[in-house]
Symmetry: C2
Subunit: 437 residues, 2 copies
């Protein structure tokens, strides 16, 4: 188990101090230096990928249960075709009108609450959250942010301050209050009331520091906290509490958005809330770098009166073409429904394993975003991060790529592409069985 | 003339309060809201682009003298082919080894000072500057930044604080000291000594606030200040001054990098200095969203020990393929040399116009990055921003796209693709003559 939650990010990373580096890995370390984050004790060199499968340089094939960016499937032909066509035509910034860009935004807005009538396109989820935070400050006059204890919202200076899972040293700055993740372990039977109570306590704590809240910001499936989707609706009283205190609710949909939870297009929709700001990224372009903030026009206007905002690459027509292709594929291939159906099947199969193996603890999830706790035998409240690391590396030898999350890094984070078939779900379950055996 | 330098960014923008909006523009405003920044009193709808030329929906063709992103030419076949190939193959994050990515980084590092041996790939210049600032803070223990009075370094919260040209309200936060742009108007005959003196004064001012400097950060051609490249070498004593005070020098090469100045691959090289950190972006992928920080491995290590940094889209193999294609095209087509030769030709032709027209003031530049001041007749120190706006809109009717920069927005910012031919330079000069006539 790591000394602190903050070491989780590196838990499954290659560590040059512990393992000899292959020529390919040495080369990577020479180029990336300390910023190199390679998975696995023996990192994988990849050459291609298609659907749910990735092909390594050594001829091995891996079933991808980790990467939520290529959400409609690696190298999806429709997205590839859209990028190939647009990049040969026009790739320019949004200082000019381009039909492709507005066509995309209309399709995207059709998926969003009508109140959020403006979209700012950015390059990354980090940029989107950075901007959303600033819009929230301007709209509320507040400066404080409330986040969960192991949240991750991105990598800029401002966003890192609200991303406890990225802190290796130090503690929360005074304008950031962390609250326990919405787990049964933390809140017992009445998670809904308990989580809202903690939001209220955080508001009081901000007041103690002489600050008012700008926003409560949540990844609405609490991915890096360990995947906590249930009970659906538990966010509602927390959102009411932040509103009552004059703050906004920012739904960070970078992880749960675009159909992954199966039950809704956005993670927040499962909770019956309408956010004041929605940020999105990762799966938005199936790997093409793009992200966005959806905002109310009045809030955006207030922000833009103070600060000029322009994003050179944000909203370029190639990104728009990729993003529009993703929306069309999601609909045409019924991937949200597939996430629901295959997600339920996968969960049932995993449930069988949980019944049989005392080292498998709580199993949670919505659609194709599941969390499975690894624990000491018959002690579901005693996380076993070493076992998780071991299982992750064994799963690799059995041809499956996966990662961990949560406070102790003991939760398997299960998020394959949304086009996963039942056969592929079976392959995963069989490999997990072997890895545990 | 705008009331303050801070209004420049919007000077040539479409303003719905002033002009009626076409259906296409209304649609854009509905989607983008207040964050919409459309050029021109009558914005342009584009459909395609090739080389230095852009094609509008109404059948008009425009010579592009504004966009420095498609630096090797719009829709360059080699870059398009590289993206098309790689996106059908593999598009994944840097947690796995991918040969294309390390091959690119080796080619990029070959263009950089050997001391800067690590590269962190990001999605945007904003992300690159945000990260470089944080690396500088950690490496120096300082928190202060010194920037020029009308600088622009990006759009995140942290970077906006060092981007005076983006501030519409308020003033510099206490950790940011602004110094006058390196113009003859500001410093007279001894710009070199004067600029360094101002850096020293800024260091003293930081000390007054109880802070030590993290870095002096300069766009090494001072683009948004109004394009100030000369005398080459003037940055050297300023860099010595920041080093003496324990701070770093960050060269923001987002604007001058990748051969644009003709005289060197990077803007800083013209000044005979070796930066501690180099940031780059815009032309790096000829429009594919990508950017980077080049750092010394020890500085990066120190930063990464404090904060986990991972960039999901940064360093994806499609970006690497685009970036590598750009480097190859620059070399194979001799575009740095072309920037030098055609840049000199263009400058000579513009010099003829300056001789003849008393409203054309100072002409400055390096390679294909020129600044031309528009002024009151025979009064080169009296900038005429209204004339600049007028000329920019007239140039559009004569088929040329261009923008303005500088404290008063009275400097034409001339930066066509690097593949510009002498004939195309002539077309621009002829159009400018007509626009002024």
């Amino acid at each position: 188990m790591p000394d602190s939650p903050r070491q989780i990010l590196d838990m499954n990373a290659f560590d040059a101090r512990q393992q000899p580096a292959s020529p390919a890995v040495s080369r990577r370390l020479r180029n990336f230096g300390a910023a190199s984050v390679l998975f696995y004790q023996e990192p994988i060199e990849l050459v291609s990928a298609e659907g749910c499968w990735m092909q390594a340089a050594d001829g091995r094939r891996y079933l991808d249960f980790y990467n939520n960016v290529p959400s409609v499937g690696h190298s999806h032909p429709a997205v590839v075709a859209a990028v190939r066509e647009q990049i040969g035509q026009l790739n320019i910034n949004t200082r000019y009108v381009v039909d492709v860009v507005d066509g995309y935004l209309e399709a995207l807005k059709a998926q969003l609450p009508a109140l959020l009538d403006n979209v700012v396109l950015t390059c990354s989820g980090s940029e989107a959250n950075d901007l959303a935070m600033r819009i929230a400050c301007k709209a509320t006059g507040g400066t404080g942010f409330i986040v969960t204890e192991n949240a991750y919202h991105g990598n800029t200076q401002y966003v890192t301050e609200i991303s406890p899972s990225a802190w290796k040293q130090g503690s929360a700055p005074p304008h950031v209050i962390t609250i326990p993740a919405p787990s049964a372990q933390n809140y017992g039977d009445d998670l809904t009331a308990g989580f809202a109570e903690n939001v209220k306590a955080a508001i009081d704590e901000l007041a103690w520091y002489g600050q008012s809240p700008a926003a409560l910001i949540c990844d609405s499936i609490f991915s890096s906290d360990g995947v906590f989707p249930d009970p659906a609706g538990f966010l509602k009283p927390a959102v009411e509490a932040i509103h009552q205190a004059g703050g906004l609710f920012i739904a960070d949909e970078v992880q749960p958005g675009f159909g992954r939870t199966g039950e809704a297009f956005w993670g927040f929709a499962r909770h019956g809330v309408i956010p004041d700001l929605v940020t999105m990224g990762k799966p938005m372009g199936n790997g093409f770098p793009m992200a966005a903030v959806a905002a109310k026009s009045a809030d955006l206007e207030q922000f833009c009166a103070q600060t000029g905002y322009f994003n050179t690459f944000g909203g370029n027509p190639v990104a728009a073409a990729a993003g529009h292709a993703v929306l069309k594929v999601l609909e045409q291939e019924g991937l949200q429904k597939n996430a629901l159906v295959v997600g339920r099947y996968l969960r049932a199969r995993l449930g069988d394993l949980v019944q049989r193996d005392p080292r498998l603890g709580d199993l949670r999830g919505a659609g194709l975003f599941l969390g499975l706790d690894l624990c000491q035998p018959d002690a579901p409240d005693a996380p076993d991060a070493a076992l998780a690391t071991d299982v992750i590396n064994r799963l690799k030898t059995h041809g499956v790529l996966i990662g961990a999350a949560g406070r102790y890094g003991a939760t398997l984070k299960i998020r394959p592409p949304l086009c996963l078939s039942q056969d592929e779900a079976d392959i995963f379950c069989h490999a997990l069985d072997l890895a545990l055996g």
